[in-house]
Amino acid sequence: MSEFKLTVSPSPHVHSGNSLTRMMRDFIIALLPATIYGVYFFGMDVLRCVLIAIVSAVVWEALSQWLSGRKLEIGNLNTVFSGLLLALLLPPSLPWWTILIGTLLMVLLGKEIYGGYGSNPFNCVLIAWVALQLSYPDYMAQWILPMADPATTSTPMEVFASQGSAFIGEYFSYTDLFLGRTAGFTGQVSALMLLIGGSYLLWRKTINWRIPISYLAGVFFFAGIFWLLGTGLYADPVFHLLAGGTMISAFFLATDLPSSPTTPQGMILFGLGAGILTVTIRTWGAWTFGAFYAVLIFNMFTPFLDKITPEVYGR
């Protein structure tokens, strides 16, 4: 017998090298254009928001994992990404303690309580966002628009909800919406920056194309049908794509790994359904944040959609 030892382990013996850390790093990189643009447009308040959110989220997670005696997992950057994403959904002027509450809820109620990232049925960022939205509706609606008269500091979606589609054009041009010259949270103002980030994720194959593309298609075609039926009453599909956080929903919220379906068919149905629900909530609901509620509601359909499995070979 040989004196030295050979490793014996099950197959496979090679790996793609992909890791959760690599994926989370990609997500963070993909959010950087929008974040940097947000700081440029809204000022240092955005940076403050981002830093508080990331640091507090990491601290909460480390504390919770230490208290529950689990392995410390902050190294995989997952919480850094969640913190950053949450910060981009908040009004830049939000008080610091509100952000702390938000990240605490995100970490605790969003994922730790279920056993950590991977086991959470809902998108943890949206859990935190909904909690803040319901608890502090006033703070959560304080928008600022630099270099503008304070009377117009409504988000495009709010203008649509309160005054109807006819007025949208008077306040915002598509160029404003596309490049990001409107009031709102950082993650909604620039469709362009989010598209750049989203394309990066698709190019790196970090996210599957099925969810974002079918989500955008759902929004576009469902809004398009009603726009064609009753011109003037309904907002046009391009507005729906560019405003109200559609882009951040498509590429960063709906694609959240644990809370979205895993099968090809499930992903398409999830995207289409959430897209249609987004337009539905915006058009006939009281809320302007249809994009977020739609994704959160469709998280509940995920276990069901995962039952639509591909047809097994030879069956």
Partner: protein
Amino acid sequence: MRLRSFSEGLLLPRSSRSEPQPFEHVPAPETLFLPLKQHQGAGCRPLLKKEETVQRGQALGQSSETTIQSPVTGQVVEVDKEFRNLYGTLTTSLTITASGEMEQTKQSPAESAIMDRILHCGVIDSGSAQPLLRKLSKSQECGVRTLIINGLDEFFIFGSRAALLVHYPEQTMEGIQILQHILQPEVTYLAVYEQSLPLLREHAAIPDSVSTIPLRAKHPQHKEPLLVSALTGQEYPLESSPLELGIASFSLETASTLARIIQQNQPNTEKPLTVLDPEPEDQRNLIVPLGTPIKHLLQYLGRNSESVAKVIVGGPLTGTALSSLDYPVTKEMDQIHFQKARDQIRFSSEVCIKCGYCVEVCPMRLMPFLLSGYSSTGLVDMAANYDIFTCIECGCCAYVCPVNIPLVQWIQVGKSRLSTHIRNEAV
């Protein structure tokens, strides 16, 4: 022309070469180890005792389906009844020291009946590791309309099968014709990776009765279910066999071996292998006498055995890791990969993040993360509902998993628990 393939799986790494390496003949070592079970099914009965002399080509052991022949002339120095083979089963193994002479047993010309020759040379269909005799008689019983010759190597675009085609084209074609003669199929397909097609046109005279089909270089295209579906468009439940569709597939190496033992009257005692040389990380095609210890192979390559941390028999995605460098080359092996310590991967016990990557690559269109999850939590009935037995353990899922879950291992655990369960129910 659109290449036939399947939509899942993994693309093979590109080859730096434009054609397969020619074979190098590895000389026989002084001491050889010959386990008497190098195939699926019952092991062979030893025919020789300790200290008896043996001639090259003489039968060392025989069963009703196959034979193990001696690769060298020499002496039996040990009969080890507790040799543990690749899959952990105990079998008898003969240790032989070569005398250096090349005297060969006379092959009687009366032994011309092809099936007898296949039995006495112990031909194994490489890939499935089934004794060829059994596979052929089953195929004859069922009647074969479509004969598939599998010229695809696992993991390498230009492995030993491609090398046989390019460097021994006549022998290979003769072998295919022998198979055609035995089975009388209506159509014969020769499956190769698209990269080999121009080389084939250049080197080989392919008979009209054989249609060469180029396939995309993907893993696990070489596995029978995917080969059958790519070539014929038909799928079959894995608990049955493609024979029920009138389809039989044989490895290209089997064809080449047939030609060697029948046309050239040689014993079946060498094995073409693709070996991943550890030091420059380069691939080499070798012809190795059966029974050669892996240690000797490393010496032949001029490599230090200390630098090797893992020896994988079979492809890197599906192979078995050996526990000892003394293990010999057997008929079941197609490839040997030597891995250095820094290239070894580690699996983890992290939680599945439900990214769906495994679902996307699974060529059998299963839900690997569910199969593994149910197997690891003991819910094997659920795993059975999700067709766990359709898994061919190709390793694609574990290869792409971002949290390094040992999916294949858990699925193996699930399958074995279920089998025990089913057996107990039956009793």
